[in-house]
Amino acid sequence: MNSEINKIINILIGGEAGQGLVTVGQILAKGLVRSGYSICVTQDYQSRIRGGHNTFAIRVGADAVRAPQESIDLLVALDADTVRFHRDDLAPHGLIVIDEALDITDDGTLKVPFRTLASDQHTNIVALGVIAALLNLDEKVVAQTVADFFGKGHREATEANGRALGESYRWAGGQAVAFERLAPIAHPPQQLMMNGNEAIALGAVTAGLKFYAFYPMTPSTSIALALAGWAKEMGLIVEQAEDEIAAINMALGASFAGAPSMVGTSGGGFALMVEGVSLAAMIETPVVIVVAQRPAPATGLPTRTAQTDLEFVLHAGHGEFPRAIFSPGSIEQCFELTQKALQVADRYQGPVFILTDQFLADSYRAVAPFRLDNRPLVEPWSHEGVGFPTPYHRSAITDDGISPRLLPGLTEHLVVVDSDEHTEDGHITEDLVVRTKMVQKRLKKGEGIRAEVIPPELQGAEKPDLLLVTWGSSKGAVEEAAATMRSRGMRIATLHFPQVWPLVPKYVIDPLHEAKQVVAVEGNATGQLARLIRRETGFHIERHVLRYDGLPITPEFILREFNP
C-alpha cells in the first residue's frame, strides 16, 4: 500500500501517558512542517493522565497528505507495549526504534542507547534526534523548533536539550540502517502547523468573535485553550461556565447584548445545551455551537473519534425552526466554515452548528498561511436604529423573516425578547393568530439559509462506476482511497458535504443518479448521512462503509471494503 502513495512515510510514536510522547510528536511534526513537508497527525490516547497506551502518528510526505495511514514505516517505541501492540502493522521495510534496555528482539530494530546519549530527563529529545536524523531533517531546523517549543528564559535547559539533540543526531548518523529517508525540499514554502480546533478558534476571531463560553469536555476543550491564550491581547472574554446549560445561556446573553458568541462542547455536554438551542431560535439571537463528536451513547469513549451526532444536532431542540450545520473536512475548512457559521448565525439570528470530531480536532496538519484581509466581520452593533418607529419591534414580521436587530442600551429603543410566543414587540402572547404568523416568520429565514448553502464538493470522473459519499473529517481518507482506486483504472468520484444541513436536493440528485454505484462512507454504525439524503431526495444509498470502533476512517479501511 505504502509504495503506491509516492514518498509518504508513516511514523508512529507510542508510550504511556506521562512519558512526553505528545511533546516529541508536536516538535517533530513542527520540524517537518518547517522543512516544507505536508503532514497529517492522528492522536490516539486513553482517558487518563498517567500510564495506559497512547500513540501520536505523523504521516508525512512532500506532496499533500490529508488522511491517516494504518501501516507503519517508522515505529518509535518509548515502551515495550508499543512494539507488542503495533508490530503487526509494521510495513515490510519498516523500522522499529527502541531503547536498548528494553527486551525486544524483533528484526528491523534500531536499539538506541538512551542512557549513554543523555540523562533520563532528556529521553524525549534523544528519541526526537534519532527520528529526525533518520528522516534526514536539518539539525538546525529541529534544534530551533526545540528551542521555540520550550520557550526563552531557560538557557540551561535549552543548552541541555541542544546537546542531547546533537549527540543523538551524531549517533543515529553513524548507524547503518536500511531506511528510506525523506527527500529534502529545496525551498520550503511558508507553512503553519495547526489542528482542527485551533483553526476553528482562529476562524472565529477572524470573523469577529468576542465571547466564548464552555464547560471542559474532550475533544472540544482545545478550542477554549486556544481562545483563552489569545483572550487578553484580543479583548475576548472566554468564560468557563458552571455547566453546559450556563455556557449556552451566557453566550445568548452576551450575543443579545451585541457580542458575537460561540460555545464548544461534545455530545453529552451538547445534550445539556439543547434547551438553549431552542431558546436561540425563539428569541432569534445568534449563537454558534461547536459539537466535537466522540463515540457515545453516554460517556462512550471520551478520547476517541466518531461521526455519530449528525441526526442529534439536526433534530436538537424542541419545536420547529431553521438551522445550519457545517461539517468541515480539513483544517482549511475549519477556518473558513467557522467564519461562515458566525456570519450565517448573525444574518439569520439563530443557532448555527459546526460538527467536528476528535480526529480532526487533534489532527495537526501543514497549511498555507491564511489571507486575513477582506474578510467580512460580524458587527451587530453597527445598526444605530435611526429612523425606527417607537416602540421598536424586535420581532417585526418582514418578507424574508429577518427582523432588523437593535441592541439593548445602545439606542433609545427598548429591545424585548421572550422564550414564550410573543408579539412583534417581543412581549408574551397567547394570541393564536399571532402564533401562526410568528411560526411562519421564523421558518421563512430557512429559505435564506438554504439559498446560501455550501454545495457538496464533487471530485473525479463524470458518470462514474463508483461514487463515494461522505461528510466532515472523513473527506481526506475518502478522497485518497478514490485516488488509489483511480490509479488502478476505476472510474470513481467522491462527494463530500462540508455543510450537511440544509441538504438541498438539486446539488446531489444528478451525481447520485449518474453513478453506477453509490456508497456512503461514514464514521457511524447506521449511515446517518445516507438516511438524510434518502429523506430529502428519495435516493436510497444501499451500500455503506461504516466505521464505529472509535478510530478515524483511513484509506486502507475503505479499500479493504472493496478488495477484501
Binding site: A246, G253, A254, S255, G409
Partner: protein, 280 residues
C-alpha cells in the same frame, strides 16, 4: 427627569392580592429614585408568575428559560457593562432549576441585582412545593407533607460571602424599594430575597403570617460583620429579619477581568496576523 409614567402601566396575569404587585411597584419606585432611563436597564427573567414581571414595565427584557436567568445576565453584563442588569424570577426558578447558577453567580461576584419573588410555593404550575417550602407542609404533589428541608438562600449567600445579601417583604414597599436601590448601587452581586404571599396556593405563609413576623434590622446592625450575619441569616420562625443582612466590598468579576465593553469593540486584523504567525 424620569418619572413613574416612563416605566408604564400594563395589564397583568396575576391574581388579585398577589404580592407581585407590590414588588413591581417597589421596583418602579427604585428605578425612578435612581433616575435610570428605561433603555439603560436590562431585566432578565426565567419562567413562573414572577418571571412575567419585566413584561409589565418599560425596559429592555430578556425573558429566557426556567432557571437560566443568571447565566444570561452574566453574559449580557460582560458584553456591555454599561447596562444595569436586574435578574427577576421566583424561588422555584432561581433556587430550584437554577441552583447551580446561583452558587456560580455568587462566586463570580458578577455585577447584577438578583430579585427573588419568594412565596415558598410554585404558583404558575398551581401549588407544588418549592425549594423554600417549609418541611411538613402538605400540597397536592406532596400529600404526605414536604420531606426535604427548606433551602435558606440568605444563609447560603452569606456563607459564600456574597457581595450584598438582603431580605425584603412585599408588605413593606418603601423599605423594599430602598433595598433594591442599594442592591443596584452595590458594585458586585446583590441578592434581594423578597418574601411575598401567594393568595391562591400558599395558605400557610399568608400576608398576615409574614406581616406578623417580619421586622426591620435595627440601625445599629452591622452588615459587614460576617459572624453576626451568619446568625441573622439563620433566624426564621417567630421573627424574620428584613434589611441588608450582609455586604462586602469584593471587586466585581467584570472589574477584575477588565475587558471593558465587548460591544462595539473592533477586531484588530494585525493582532490576528500575529497570532497566526505563532503557528509557523
Amino acid at each position: 427627569m424620569v418619572t413613574i409614567e416612563d416605566y408604564g402601566t400594563y395589564e397583568t396575569a396575576w391574581c388579585p392580592g398577589c404580592g407581585n404587585f407590590s414588588i413591581l411597584k417597589a421596583v418602579k419606585q427604585a428605578l425612578v429614585a435612581t433616575q435610570l432611563k428605561p433603555n439603560q436597564c436590562l431585566f432578565v427573567s426565567g419562567i413562573g408568575q414572577a418571571a412575567k414581571a419585566p413584561h409589565y414595565l418599560n425596559a429592555n427584557v430578556f425573558n429566557g428559560l426556567h432557571g437560566r436567568s443568571l447565566p444570561v445576565a452574566t453574559g449580557a453584563k460582560l458584553a456591555n457593562p454599561d447596562l444595569v442588569v436586574i435578574v427577576e424570577s421566583g424561588d422555584g426558578c432561581h433556587y430550584g432549576e437554577g441552583g447551580n447558577h446561583f452558587l456560580a453567580a455568587i462566586r463570580r461576584n458578577i455585577d447584577v441585582t438578583m430579585l427573588v419573588h419568594n412565596n415558598q410555593i410554585y404558583g404558575l404550575t398551581k401549588g407544588q412545593a418549592s425549594p423554600t417550602t417549609d418541611e411538613a407542609i402538605i400540597t397536592k404533589t406532596q400529600p404526605e407533607g414536604v420531606l426535604s428541608a427548606p433551602f435558606n438562600p440568605i444563609a447560603v449567600a452569606v456563607a459564600m460571602q456574597a457581595g450584598f445579601v438582603a431580605r425584603g417583604f412585599s408588605g413593606m414597599i418603601d423599605h423594599l424599594s430602598d433595598l433594591i436601590q442599594q442592591g443596584m448601587a452595590h458594585q458586585g452581586f446583590a441578592l434581594i430575597d423578597v418574601l411575598q404571599n401567594c393568595v391562591s396556593f400558599n395558605k400557610v405563609n399568608t400576608f398576615a403570617w409574614y406581616k406578623k413576623r417580619c421586622y426591620p434590622l435595627p440601625p445599629e446592625y452591622d452588615p459587614t460583620d460576617w459572624g453576626t450575619a451568619m446568625t441573622t441569616a439563620t433566624e426564621w420562625g417567630a421573627k424574620i429579619p428584613v434589611g441588608i443582612i450582609y455586604r462586602n466590598a469584593r471587586p466585581p468579576f467584570g472589574q477584575r477581568l477588565n475587558r471593558g465593553r465587548l460591544v462595539g469593540q473592533k477586531t484588530d486584523r494585525s493582532e490576528i496576523g500575529r497570532i497566526m504567525d505563532r503557528f509557523q
